[in-house]
Amino acid sequence: MDGRGFQLISDKGITIEICGSSGDGALATGEIFTKTLSDMGFHTLSFDSYPAEIRGFGKSVAHIRAGAGPLTSLSRKVDILVALNDRYSIEQIPKLVDEGVVIFDNKPIEVAREDNDMSHRLGPGVYSGEKDEWVIESDGSHCIAGYLGPGMYLYGVPLNQLSQRTTGESRSRNIVILGVMAALFGLPDKEFINNLTAKLGKKGKSIDTIISAFRAGYAYVNEQIVKLDPYLFRKEALEKRDYRLMTGNKAVATAAIDSECKFYAGYPITPATKIMEILSAELPKHGGHVVQTEDEIAAIGFVTGASFAGVRAMTATSGPGFCLMTEFIGYNVMAENPIVIVDAQRAGPATGLPTKTEQSDLNHALFAGNGDAPRIVLAPTNVSECYQWTAEAFYLAEKYQMPVIMLTDLFLSLCLENVLIEPIPDYKKHANKYPTEEELKVYLRQKVTDDGVSPRTIPGQEGGCHVVSGLEQDQYGTPVYDATTHTMMTEKRFRKIKTALEHDIPLPERSGAKGKVKLGIISWGSTTGAVREAVNNAVNDGKSVAMLKLIVVAPLHTEPVRQFLDSCDMVLVPELNFEGQFANWLSMHFNYTFHRLNRVTVSPITYNDIEEEIDRLLKG
């Protein structure tokens, strides 16, 4: 704390929610606010929730958590609520902490008083608990001010009026609020103006107008508002790190380019579309191609063809699209063709809840397709792992010549996190096993080898002509239907999985209390962040809790998991699906009764939820 940077007042980080109706610009405001905090060196994690409709009736909430140390989970409790729309924001009030802050658009005063005199009946204040004190009914709507709990801080700012005055329209309320937030929480305006210019400078509207809206909010707070709440982003010691702010989708796309992926085909689907949009702009600059196909069947077909032709290729989709891709998963297992499929899971079966998160595609990823079809299933747990494991997915697919399915989810896809990125080593960019000259004399594409991996030629290679098929083939490539060959080739395909486990798939990572513990938690995918934070807190409180994180879901390293199970009195598996799909998958390997925490509440799990479950289990 020697005054070199900024630090939040709270060690646990501050959670801010910006809530509005679709089209209010709440999400854009959240993005710029996050980016600015990230630029200053804070660790940030932000996640938006929004309806499927573009504009109209629907609640959009930007949820931002920022702190000095690494944060791995969202928080259930909110410290600061910014209300761009009172009706929707009132619903968020129960999430506020007892001494929470609410900033709202002080519009009713403006409507009520025709002389437009901005007297400050709704100036800064601490709500006393008398409900009538704040209720405003000038236009029949309820003002959020009437819904606060005792001890909360309230700031009314005439956002609409300030926006009108500076830009001539009310649409810039979300820029004015940025100025308000910056001034109120002690953030310098310079960084905001840089980010505003970068994000909105291209949109046609004069950037000077936008900045004047920002300054109006900033000045209003400095001149008119007396700060009463304790929240402040203080100038304190903060280690400067080389953070890059990105979403999970951006991390996947960036990693694909860095892994020398040269081909992408896909069909638009929430929440994976952004991967295609990013690659469509970036991949051609790196000599690659992006095709938007007529459906997901064609998308994975394109990828299969491109991969056979010798370039690294991938597709990304969500549950409904992944269903259409099922037939080609089996094909690529049989043809031993490397492909990477990213499934950004969303909630529900069929079309389900397109803009909500869940972890319910695990069963499909593990078992999709007919016959015995070995595949590798990965599930990164945060944004930086989305980057690292996309690179890994390409490596594993190419080295073991099989489909690799990477499960992310809507939360990971869209959450903005500032991450530290490790460069991808070169050997992971070129992993194909080419035949030797000796092997090329009589080239066998499906050669049975000790590790299960056959040498693979790519078109253009002299002497390497071959045919791959979805039919069972012998080593020479001829379709055959006898028992010996089918047994031999099935064993060969499964041998690749064994080899991958031995050589390339890392062991699950244990953390928390050491040795024998009362409670163990096994987690996968995006719930892991919440588990990690809850376990850290529990261990700091002296509780006997440990966790095991699995990124590679299939194939499974059974021995370390067994050791973990043996070292725990009881084991909890939390996940965002109804059936407990991961707990079921573990039950297929271990004769063990797991405690389950299953939720289909379509929002990301928070560390508070896990902490409660830990306490409940330790008491019980």
């Binding site: 040269k262 081909f263 085909a265 191609h289 095709v291 196909t293 007529e294 459906d295 069947i297 064609a298 998308a299 077909g301 394109f302 990828v303 299969t304 063809g305 491109a306 056979f308 032709a309 010798g310 370039v311 290729a313 037939e327 080609f328 094909y331 043809a335 030629t457 790519i458 078109p459 253009g460 290679q461 002299e462 002497g463 390497g464 002509c465 071959h466 045919v467 791959v468 098929s469 979805g470 039919l471 490539g477 001829t478 379709p479």
Partner: protein, 270 residues
């Protein structure tokens, strides 16, 4: 087709000695064909191999993608980099390969069930995208590999194993479909006329962009009525001598007639 155009030479002579020595066998694998004796597909295979020989395309630079069905078996008898893919999916796979590797010559071989039934959704988009692949539709009017069920090309009324009372629906018209979707190269050939087919294949492979070649071919095992050599010979007719294949209206007119006109029906110069 007015006259045969001389093929371009892509390789230096020494690399082509194999093709000169082995002729069409350059493109044959050690596996023997499993098509029925007398099948029209043997004619298509030979015509295609002769074309490749004349165009001097080396097997290592040739990629053949086929779907499922009797047509789908082609890659097993061929020497090339080949994929025998899923039912109906040869067009997306071939397009992906060509986009990723523009140096390869990519052929998409597809049957009537493959192209017009299960994979019909891919055809308009392959045409619209105009990727430089050659799509050859092997049309025998029946599902042969599953022993004689109705296909999208089975004529109305024909008795098949899936329609013992006769097929209730009319057959499709692939040439008209391709023209309607906006294909830039549409041709039709007959498996019993290998020399004509060779010219069409040659033009199709050389055409820059998507080329669609419909080949009608007898099924000697499961069709004794319509798709037989005798009956098809009565239907197949050469396009008129003064036919202008750059005229789209004329092409539509030819495509709509009951006769099966063979030759280059439409080509839009790039």
């Amino acid at each position: 087709m007015n006259e045969q155009i001389k093929p371009e030479v892509f390789y230096p002579d020494d690399e082509l000695s194999e093709i000169k020595k082995k002729g069409i066998f350059t493109y044959r694998s050690e596996r023997l064909s499993t098509w029925c004796p007398g099948c029209g597909y043997y004619g298509i295979e030979t015509a295609l191999e002769r074309t490749l020989t004349e165009l001097n395309i080396l097997p290592k630079d040739l990629m053949i993608v086929s779907g499922i069905g009797c047509t789908g078996r082609y890659p097993f008898f061929a020497k090339a980099y080949s994929m025998h893919v899923l039912h109906g999916r040869s067009l997306p796979v071939a397009s992906g390969a060509k986009i990723a590797r523009s140096d390869l010559t990519v052929l998409a071989l597809t049957g009537d069930g493959d192209c017009l039934g299960i994979g019909a959704g891919h055809l308009p988009h392959a045409i619209k995208r105009n990727t430089d692949i050659t799509c050859i539709l092997f049309d025998n009017g029946i599902y042969g590999l599953t022993k004689g069920q109705t296909s999208p090309m089975t004529p109305k009324g024909q008795v098949t194993s899936s329609h013992p009372e006769g097929n209730p629906d009319p057959n499709m018209n692939p040439v008209l479909l391709a023209l309607s979707y906006g294909a830039n190269f549409v041709a039709r050939g007959f498996a019993g006329a290998p020399d004509d087919m060779k010219i069409l294949f040659e033009e199709g492979i050389k055409h820059k962009g998507f080329s669609f070649i419909h080949i009608v071919s007898p099924c000697v095992t499961f069709d004794k009525v319509n798709y037989t050599y005798e009956h098809l010979r009565t239907q197949v007719k050469h396009l008129p001598r003064r036919y202008d294949y750059t005229n789209l209206d004329m092409a539509f007119e030819m495509a709509r007639t009951a006769e099966l006109f063979t030759g280059l029906i439409y080509r839009k110069e790039p």
